[in-house]
């Protein structure tokens, strides 16, 4: 197939983005905590390596990808299914502003004022694939829009990669199907960088326990932190049991860590350490 003829784009922010490879990170609008963490971590590590992160400003994986890139101080592009002046979902207006002020852009092939319409999103997905050099799918159930993006990427002869998930999770059906059909397996940002032929900058293994989170903590609180991973969520009761500490004390310490920005509380009462790109670099 020939070079795609990109539709004319309306833009808010800096366009075109800085020279360099571009990776689209797409996936479910309702990811598991795992999927959200992977998307954010991948985007963070890719952005730090100078990759422009492209995504769709949707809920879930999209938002996590934009956030990760912004946390690394990187450039990220949101390809929208609405007019560039219509932020959808509206809860992402702050995120959209951050994308623009972070040197990235909001782009859309639709006229200003276009409201969200179901049939516009597949076209947007095609544009996203066209703008990226590689499409990484993080958690996609059967029939997910992310799979449309992946198909578009194949049509355009772009590389498609996928992050594996739990075999028990319905959100892994789409991604595992892609891997079975030959999509590249993504375990960390290095895999994506290799596909982009970018030299693997020093990257941490996202699955490793964080040795340091780049901020100084009072010594007594580090005990808890070493038990947390940034992918697998643990709850306070489990930590209390491991450390043989009273639950009241663990709750207090976790809150202190949260106050310091070192852990994050998720739905279901789980906590995990969150590496903050800006602090760590």
């Amino acid at each position: 197939m020939s070079q795609p003829n990109l539709p004319e784009l309306r833009v808010r922010g800096r366009w075109p983005p800085p020279e360099g490879p571009r990776a689209a990170i797409v996936g479910s609008r309702r990811p598991s905590p795992y999927g959200e963490a992977v998307a954010e971590q991948l985007a963070l590590d890719l952005a730090r390596a100078g990759v422009v992160v492209v995504s769709g400003l949707a809920l879930g994986v999209d938002a996590a990808a934009h956030r990760g890139a912004l946390n690394a101080g990187g450039v990220t592009v949101a390809v929208m299914g609405t007019g560039v002046d219509v932020i959808y979902p509206s809860a992402h207006s702050v995120l959209a502003e951050a994308i623009v002020s972070g040197g990235g852009a909001l782009v859309s092939q639709f006229a200003d004022g276009t409201a969200p319409r179901r049939h516009n999103f597949p076209a947007r997905n095609y544009t996203m694939a066209a703008l990226a050099d590689v499409v990484v799918v993080v958690e996609a159930g059967e029939g997910s829009g992310a799979l449309i993006t992946a198909e578009a990427a194949l049509d355009l002869h772009k590389e498609v990669m996928a992050v594996p998930g739990s075999v028990f999770s319905p959100l892994s059906v789409g991604t595992h199907g892609l891997i079975r059909d030959g999509a590249g397996l993504v375990q960390n940002a290095r895999d994506v960088l290799a596909a982009l032929h970018v030299g693997g900058e020093v990257l941490d293994d996202p699955l490793a326990t964080p040795a340091s989170i780049g901020i100084t903590l009072r010594a007594e609180r580090d005990g808890i932190l070493s038990h947390l991973s940034d992918v697998l969520a643990l709850n306070a009761a489990e930590i209390a049991r491991k450390l043989q500490l009273p639950i009241a004390e663990v709750l207090g310490r976790l809150t202190a860590l949260e106050l310091d920005g070192a852990v994050k509380r998720q739905q279901g009462g789980f906590v995990r350490a969150l590496r903050r790109g800006k602090d760590r670099a």
Binding site: R253, Q267, G268, G269
Partner: protein
Amino acid sequence: MFGCVDSCVLAGLDVRRVRVEADISRGSQVEFSLVGLASTTVKEARARVRSAVRNSGLEFPTTRLTVNLAPAELRKEGTALDLPIAIAIVLARAKRPAPARSAFLGELALDGSVRHVDGVLVAARGLRELGYETIFVPADDAIEATLAGDLEVIPCESLIAVVKHLLESEPIPVAAPHSGGGASECPIDHDLVEVHGQEEAKRALEVAAAGGHHLLLSGPPGAGKTMLARCLPGILPPLELGEALDVAQVRSLLGELPRDRPLDWARPFRAPHHGVSTAGLIGGGSRLAVPGEISRANHGVLFLDELAEFQTPVLQALRQPIESGWITITRSGGSVTYPARFTLVAATNPCPCGWSGDSVRACRCTPGAVDTYHRRLSGPLLDRIDIQVSVRRVPLDTLASEPRGESSAAVRDRVVAARERQLARQGCLNAQLKPPRLRHLAALGPASRRTLERWSAQRGMSARAFHRAWRVARTAADLDGAEGIDEHHVLEALGFRLQDVAA
């Protein structure tokens, strides 16, 4: 011929004295008129009284009979005036005065026996305060009446027995005062020892019990939210005598008091279904409001499962009683005030399908639906719930390996100690401290204050949320037996809130 006895009618928990006057005048006309703003049930008393008097072997006046219920401007409801009307007529015929400082209550059956009426305990307490020394009540309700204390209670089996007591010196023995049993008779229905794991929620339950804080449990279906809520009464101290009487009064009004064991020392636990109406929850009725679920839960626990499924107006109606501890309801018959000092335990799923955030099952809700769901939950009611905690689902296969908890009795000892500290210091529980007293009685050290302010600035906390965390921190300190609020108390308090709900 004139006779007159005293009785009363109830307006909620208020007792209004009613004087029943009977006048038998000469004349050939047979007439029985009942005046004094009697409602239909009271008007029907004429038929019951006539039959009961005749069937008791007494003579019913065959001339003009007028019964007046004074004060005439007070509307009278209920069947408790049957007995006093009959006695007034009998006394009028006998030309005898009623015994001094005594009052009568009871419904009459056609054969002359005396039937149960609702609210005898309320009436007895009110009459005692009005200066009465003896009350005649249905035999069924005698034990209940003795709870009022300091009152000679005459149990009435039948009209003829009462007449003989009054006129023929065949006295009815006075009912023996009810011992009331004791708090030791209060078994724990649901023991925390049966709850595996869930340490976080258990701790939240303990803090809620200690400080009288309202509690929100959020978690997927089958996580044990209902079980946890049912454990709360067991870790609260048993009712004190005054509280037990308050509880019994509301039940008495509703006619729900068990005859043989009117005083219950266990904390009430009410769990209305989410289809409940506003009137059912806070109280209501056509003429005078009857107590609702919140008043039945007085001094106990009100458990609202599936909080988001309740109709919004129903939840909004909870706001005022949650703050004040009582509810005033005005209906066409006047306004009544009922107590409603309860601990609210609300439970909710994290999203409409319930599985958001679960480690195994995926949530099937659309993001919009989750958003709508949360919006229904948040707002003014949630703002009044001090402690919010996530409840994790324990998978069945690991359930057995989860540690068992402490027994409710052990937790209760700590709760009681913490409550005693609060009562000694400020005369009320921490949850009821208003901000000025909070500042005065629960001063924060510099480190604690800094932590609370830092969090508040970081999260854009409302003033209400700020004080909420402060109160919970005071309770955590009380559970510790600490004089001052340390930083770790503040941190624990800040941990008791949900991630998506604005603090």
